[in-house]
Symmetry: C2
Subunit: 465 residues, 2 copies
């Protein structure tokens, strides 16, 4: 094929559909069908595809078909496909392998890649893998395993190409030709001294446009962004985004190069983290294989429902305090969810903006007061306006001006409560080291529901009955 | 400085704090302070910094201080800083410039970068910019302006380095040395025929390790991922993530190279889109400058509150239908928010998983039925369990076994409703071309609230009164 592939021709969706078709034909074979031929066809389809595409197909298949397709994959590609699969699906694949197969699958992987898999593997399998490595690889793997999640070290790989500054471009080019290939995503050589201390980087694009006789010393970039292995991965991701990095050196406390971090890993980290946040917001601890069993899924989702039942129950007890008032004026029951709900909506707007400002490091002690004043102002303005509108509507609907007045006042007050809670809850979570993007909403809704009911029913009891 | 910069030394937060300090000193100068010296110091701090850092500082300053700092920036850097700023902050900066200044600011930018700014500029300024360009740049700019948002064309740039296949590596290297510098994020040369039709790509890392006498024809990658300018930017982003791309060619319908798309642009696109989704979920049309006026912010947030008030009002009218029942048994008012709320929580879990599966293209006609069956199963299981628990609690609390039974049954039914709505709402939004990640939650909450009230109060009216 001398023609470049267009995305449309090679879409993983099309591959998934083809494999689905074969799996269906295999499950319910037409009379006289050659089941072996179906296997061969599927094997052929999967053979040349990028591991990420194969992982995508496995994720899109129900368990039984998934394990069938997994059995058709060339064994030496197992490792790279496992790496690309989501945690939930990877688990189902690993459960289908014995420890010898798992150890074999890791033989084609780099230390940092094995470390990514390790958290899903039984401890003794990890030990077997360590023992199967040669000395240098084992040292790298142990280093990779030692960094906690969320650090630069956990994203780092070891495929560093470095060079000394006292040579010419010609020498550098000759040195590079001794490689069979350069590591993927290498966009610069790391310039180091004799003790591997980082002095700067030489972008390949600069090396390529420079006369071969020029010395590296006069050419390389001295102001480079580098990271420590214990640095926060989120900050590294922000730096990659901000400075348009492709690959950056990781150095230890003495300035010695210990590895590198690439945009590929960063992009994957950002995506995984955002997915975890999206799932965490609705209380899904882990991503759910869409073909997981009803039972496993129900258990994954249950704790969140339990937590929300508790908060809803407490809010319900607040209403319970005012059952006497409600028995006298049932309109209160119809109107109270509006007061509570609108507080939640408004508070979530505030929280979303604060979470974003926190992630960007834009909330300081100095401007926190300013933000508070602003949010209170907005909630007062919106509360006065929309409270007024709803107060008038409620007043007309029930021919009761005082009820309308209580409604308007309660909405105003609950929006102010929502603004306060919308600011303080994410700030407090951040202070206590929890991710404010994930849990803020439950607490916020708890506050705006309970307070909304209390304010509205309390005011009504005082002024209307 | 011959030492590489560590992230910690150069953090943009530290820069922001330094500039904040100077701004404060300038606003309330101590007696005898030299205001000019403060300006000079701030100018010096900003001068050498990456445009993204300067934009970060401007975003972190209240309007008055922001415009002061903006005035201290070297005019020829205006364009690149505007590019890095968020839309909301960029607007405040542009409002401070006259059209001649804006045209001047764009002179250092590439066509694709000007196109990014253009949506924020008055039409006549865009016209002035077009007229200020030479013929080739103008053609590129017009091309860049012609692609709608969300397409590959809108993310594309024109900094293509291409080469023919019938030359040796030696010739290629000599050709590259004629450049002053290669475009940022160039990781491969595009191999083309004499009519600029794409034949493949030659990774720089491969060029660098190959003997200079080898012909390009035997060396380049023929199976490459390329995009059409009208392709969906989301799909391109997924391909970059899946195949670990740094830079990919964009070709027209005849296979001719028209530009390229880089991981930097993709990363920025992904981040912007995810932010827009996070904001859109709580009805914030645009990102809000955290120092925007109370008035502007209240208007930005008002429409969302209005929409939610409407849905809450309708749900309230559902309760209104049963005011007679509530007057007889006020406990219903206390318990009904639990039934409604838990439906919303459970439905949001379903929706979150469906939205994710939709984004990955994993929902097909075939497995939609399967997903539906699964979600119904989970909701029935969770509904039976948690409904049972709450039913028992409610029965004891009010010494009313029948009330407990109604509570349990209503929770079970509302969770089933939530599962149905949680699947159908995002699917319908997707079908009608709306982003299901953004608006699903309002509709879902509307359904689970209204139906929760209706089911619970309806059952109570039939069985308890």
């Amino acid at each position: 094929m001398s023609v470049a592939t267009r995305m449309e021709d090679a879409s993983p969706q099309a591959l998934l559909e083809a494999i689905e078709r074969l799996a269906r034909a295999r499950r319910e074979p037409p009379p006289g069908a050659d089941v072996g031929a179906l296997d061969r066809e599927a094997r052929e389809l999967l053979r040349e595809r990028h591991p990420a595409d194969v992982a995508y197909v496995l994720e899109g298949l129900p368990l039984e078909d998934r394990l069938w397709a997994w059995g058709l994959v060339d064994r030496e590609r197992d490792g790279e496909i496992l790496l690309e699969a989501t945690d939930a699906v990877r688990e189902t694949l690993l459960r289908d392998m014995d420890s010898a197969e798992i150890v074999a699958a890791t033989q084609n992987l780099d230390a940092d890649e094995i470390a990514d898999l390790a958290s899903d593997l039984p401890r003794d399998v990890v030990q077997d893998i360590l023992e199967s490595q040669d000395v240098e690889d084992r040292a790298e793997l142990q280093a990779a395993l030692s960094y906690p999640e969320g650090t630069v070290g956990s994203l780092m790989d070891f495929e560093v190409v470095s060079i000394r500054e006292d040579v010419t471009c010609e020498v550098a080019l000759r040195y590079l030709r001794r490689f069979d290939e350069l590591p993927a995503q290498t966009d610069a050589l790391f310039v180091v001294d004799r003790d591997d201390h980082l002095k700067g980087t030489l972008p390949l694009t600069r090396l390529l446009v420079t006369d071969p006789d020029v010395e590296i010393a006069g050419l390389y970039e001295r102001e480079v962004v580098s990271f420590a292995p214990e640095s926060d991965a989120d900050e590294a991701a922000q730096a990659f985004d901000r400075y348009d990095l492709v690959c950056a050196p990781v150095v230890d406390a003495t300035g010695r190069v210990v590895g590198r971090i690439t945009v590929e890993t960063v992009l994957e980290y950002v995506r995984d983290r955002q997915e975890a946040q999206a799932l965490g917001k609705v209380g899904l601890r882990e991503e759910e294989d869409i073909f997981a069993s009803v039972w496993a899924s129900a258990r994954n989702r249950g704790p969140w429902l339990a937590l929300n039942l508790c908060t809803a129950f407490i809010a319900s007890r607040v209403v319970g305090l005012f059952e006497g008032s409600i028995a006298q004026l049932a309109a209160l029951a119809a109107l109270m969810p509006i007061v509570a709900g609108i507080g939640g909506n408004s508070g979530n707007q505030t929280t979303t903006l604060i979470v974003r400002a926190l992630a960007l490091g834009q909330v300081s002690a100095q401007n926190a007061r300013r933000l508070l004043a602003k949010e209170l102002g907005i909630s007062a303005l919106n509360g006065a306006f929309w409270g007024g509108v709803l107060g008038i509507v409620a007043g007309f609907l029930y021919h009761n001006v005082a009820l309308g007045g209580v409604m308007a006042l309660a909405m105003l007050l609950n929006l102010v409560v929502a603004a306060l809670a919308g600011i303080f809850i994410p700030l407090a979570m951040d202070r206590f080291g929890r991710d404010p993007a994930v849990g803020s909403s439950v607490f916020l809704t708890f506050v705006t529901d309970s307070m909304g009911f209390f304010i509205f029913l309390g005011l009504a009891t005082v002024f209307l009955l």
